[in-house]
Symmetry: C2
Subunit: 181 residues, 2 copies
């Protein structure tokens, strides 16, 4: 399952939609589901667990991929908990290595910033993953670096990025205007 | 572009959403768009023309495929007009040959049923199309039977049905609860 969030307008919205698309390898779409999470909230992990476990494809799911460990602003996904509670390995992919100083500076706007920072730290180191002639990065949980790299490579069928995440992103943006909480 | 409508509750809704997904051959999704049409209304053709022509992929679109010529109950698509106004061939696929007597009986509930019946008649004969060991049917406009058959066969990469329509259907149903007018 590839997971990405819709863009949102923080001035007008409290929550945003998160889409999950089920792919067979990097090959074809087999299902779609959704949930909603609070913008800058703390419910992302819990809402993803619920979305994944209630999917009709849950038993067949082999891996969960997320577009970065943050959804809806700074609603940070605890990928260790997500792995434990779903029983599925988690690969959170990002195209660019975030600048930790900048992340920390932004987080300091939250009274509970230390908590959020700890969740990010818990995600562990970013692993470099080579896809064709490109390098992307991933936080992983419940899977070895080698296996995660192999899965990202195998599923990157149409671009230098896993197909489930490419399609989740494309749908989240293409259908943004129609998708509501 | 593969087009399908979301299911709806006629007791509670006046309109329903129609999704369009852009595919490269039968291979991969490249975009998604949407419109809404009136349940049992007469605006399907006009709304599809608008949706197709305003897609960022419009200039690259080669064929429009619809899941049957009726959307949202009996909102019938005039595929000749759709072809003329979009400049794209139209293939409206159906798994089962509709029973004309039953269609006519249902249409008679509408005061303008003769108009609607004429639009169906204008779509011409249903063409038999062989996909692997399966037979499906298609109304076509602006394309030869041979070319339509070849396109349906080439794009039926994952099932005995064109992939753009399989995916449009799957998304329309999977995201139904989140998609609003």
């Amino acid at each position: 399952m590839g997971i990405d969030d819709c863009s949102f307008d923080p001035a007008r919205e409290d929550r945003t939609i998160v889409l999950g698309v089920v792919f067979r390898g990097g090959l074809y779409l087999d299902g779609a589901t959704s949930t909603d999470v609070e913008i800058d909230g703390k419910d992302a992990t819990e809402k993803l667990v619920e979305m994944i476990k209630s999917s009709p494809h849950y038993r067949q799911l082999r891996v969960v991929m997320i577009d970065t460990i943050t959804l809806a602003g700074f609603n940070i996904v605890d990928i260790l908990r997500l792995n434990q509670e779903t029983g599925r390995p988690v690969i959170a992919v990002t195209r660019q290595k975030p600048n930790n100083d900048e992340v920390k500076a932004a987080l300091r706007n939250f009274p509970d910033w230390e908590d959020r920072w700890r969740t990010i730290q818990n995600a562990g180191d970013l692993n470099e993953i080579h896809v064709r002639d490109n390098t992307i990065f991933a936080h992983i949980a419940g899977i070895s670096t080698n296996d995660a790299e192999a899965i990202v490579q195998i599923s990157s069928t149409r671009a230098n990025y896993p197909e489930p995440l490419r399609v989740a992103h494309l749908l989240a943006h293409g259908l943004r205007a129609r998708i509501h909480q």
